[in-house]
């Protein structure tokens, strides 16, 4: 019984060590010749384009709901005109990056975990390896880089549709012209709001791709392990996103953004 905590710590340290080694393999393979452009573009399509509907609807509804929820309170303070500003700042700086990243952790990270996990179970990764090809370069590098590029773009799209949702929310009870709404929204937004959020989503993208690939690539041989890989990919990627967000907020505050 006394050894149980020690074994648990050992397991955590082993897992951390394996993740560092896997990260090292990823970085080592980025800069090799014969980059898999075709597979990279296919992954950008699968990860980015195929997530447009989910991310778009989510962004639109977030903007719409925030507007409706905040409207009574703002009205009570006579500050209705501040709704576009408030929505713009909150969507761009925090809500869209984190919510979209969490949604993508559920959709993309679990998808990658399940796909690579089933490839591991059916010995497809071994087959790649014994044929002399490089499965890390083909499967891992392409997916992680696609996530790094597509998650920030999806977040920007969610920001834009969030504005549209907010505009609709405002117009349910008032009539506000698009020019007035968007000029008020954008007048409060600076590059200092957009850039830290954009950089944050690059790290979110890395976390989503990396955890999905790590869990899938290192899953065990049984069919049960595919489900475990997908599940733990979502849980771990979500945890990483929250931790990265916490660190990013501290950094942006310290840097005065």
């Amino acid at each position: 019984m006394a050894n149980a905590p020690a074994a648990s710590y050992k397991g955590i340290l082993e897992e951390a060590g394996n993740q560092v080694l896997f990260m090292f393999r990823f970085f080592r393979n980025i800069f090799r010749f014969d980059f898999e452009w075709e597979e990279f573009i296919r992954q950008c399509y699968m990860i980015g384009y195929k997530s447009f509907p989910l991310v778009g609807i989510t962004g639109f509804i977030i903007g719409f709901v925030i507007t409706l929820q905040s409207e009574p309170t703002m009205k009570a303070f006579g500050a209705e005109s501040f709704i576009p500003k408030m929505v713009a700042i909150s969507l761009i700086r925090e809500i869209c990056p984190v919510v979209i990243a969490l949604i993508c952790a559920g959709k993309i990270s679990s998808g990658i975990g399940a796909e690579l996990g089933s490839m591991q179970v059916s010995e497809q990764i071994d087959a790649m390896e014994v044929s002399g090809a490089n499965p890390v370069q083909y499967l891992v590098v392409t997916r992680i880089l696609a996530c790094i590029i597509m998650i920030p773009l999806l977040t920007l799209m969610a920001d834009a549709l969030g504005f549209a949702g907010s505009y609709l929310g405002v117009n349910l009870s008032n009539h506000v012209s698009p020019q007035l709404f968007f000029s008020k929204a954008f007048s409060s937004v600076e590059f200092g709001d957009l850039l830290p959020a954009f950089f944050k989503t690059i790290f979110f993208g890395f976390a989503i791709g990396f955890i999905g690939c790590y869990k899938g690539y290192n899953s065990n041989r049984g069919t049960e392990s595919v489900g475990i890989a997908a599940n733990s990919a979502v849980v771990n990627a979500s945890l990483w996103i929250i931790v990265i967000d916490g660190i990013a907020v501290q950094l942006t505050n310290a840097l005065g953004y």
């Binding site: 014969d34 490839m119 059916s122 010995e123 497809q124 071994d126 087959a127 790649m128 390896e129 014994v130 044929s131 002399g132 090809a133 490089n134 083909y138």
Partner: protein, 258 residues
């Protein structure tokens, strides 16, 4: 250019025609000793069948040869080079000379048959010319008797067809050694016989040396030049099919009972 074969010291005299030699190989997973003391040679051009019950370490043995798993102790030489001592590039080169047919065929299920066959050609042989790719794919599909499967997805293929395409994907690199992991498991007797005959035709056509892991006696009878029987992580018998079939040992005899 191929590396010259180096004859480093081993316990027993090594024949220059041996393409694989294993001496005192041991492999454990945690406390579970899978292989205890494996000694084996694969002669050039022969079909060696390894017979044994499930879980005795047959698949582990051939996975050590291509370094999919690392052995704990002993010496394992392929084309005269110790597998453990190979650099990443040398290992990659070795793997192009040793083909591996997995039990499940391991076709890439997101790719068509054509893309499965192109995969090693583009990445290992760096063939970019479309006509050359097409010619080589057609040649190898003809060899396995499935020229019409070229644009099918793996999910549209039967078990026997998947094995044939898996074999095609492996021989497309023209390996000198083939490792077959239970090539007839899960197939009906007629398809099993066809696969066994295909293994023989590969040996004749491409002069391939093969290790065939199986517990299918019909497959062993067709393909084996020599057989070794494995039990509990060790080889317990060796001989031709006829010699083992007539063995007086109860354990060996149990494989040949219908």
């Amino acid at each position: 250019m191929d590396e010259p074969i180096q004859n480093k010291k081993v316990d027993t005299p090594q024949d220059n025609s041996d393409v694989i030699t294993m001496r005192h190989i041991a492999k454990s997973f945690g406390d579970n000793a899978i292989l205890k003391d494996i000694n084996m040679d694969l002669h050039k051009g022969e079909n060696l069948v390894i017979l044994g019950k499930s879980g005795t370490g047959k698949s582990v043995t051939i996975k050590l040869i291509v370094n999919l798993l690392e052995y704990d102790k002993g010496e394992l030489k392929v084309f005269g080079d110790e597998v453990k001592d190979l650099s990443e590039q040398e290992l990659k080169k070795l793997r192009t000379r040793v083909g591996f047919l997995f039990q499940s065929a391991a076709l890439y299920d997101s790719m068509t048959v054509r893309e499965n066959l192109e995969f090693p050609l583009k990445r290992i042989l760096k063939i970019k010319d479309e006509k050359e790719l097409e010619d080589r794919i057609k040649e190898v599909l003809d060899s396995v008797g499935l020229p019409d499967a070229i644009d099918k997805m793996p999910s549209e293929l039967s078990g026997g067809m998947r094995k044939r395409i898996g074999l095609a994907r492996t021989i497309i690199l023209k390996p000198e050694i083939m490792l077959y992991d239970e090539p007839t498991t899960g197939l009906d007797p007629i398809t099993s016989k066809e696969i066994s005959e295909l293994i023989m035709s590969m040996q004749e056509k491409f002069k391939i040396s093969s290790i065939i892991i199986t517990h299918d006696i019909a497959c062993a009878k067709i393909t084996a030049n020599r057989m070794m029987v494995m039990d509990k992580g060790e080889f317990v018998a060796e001989g031709t099919f006829e010699e083992l079939e007539n063995s007086s040992d109860d354990f060996i005899k149990s494989f040949f009972k219908l």
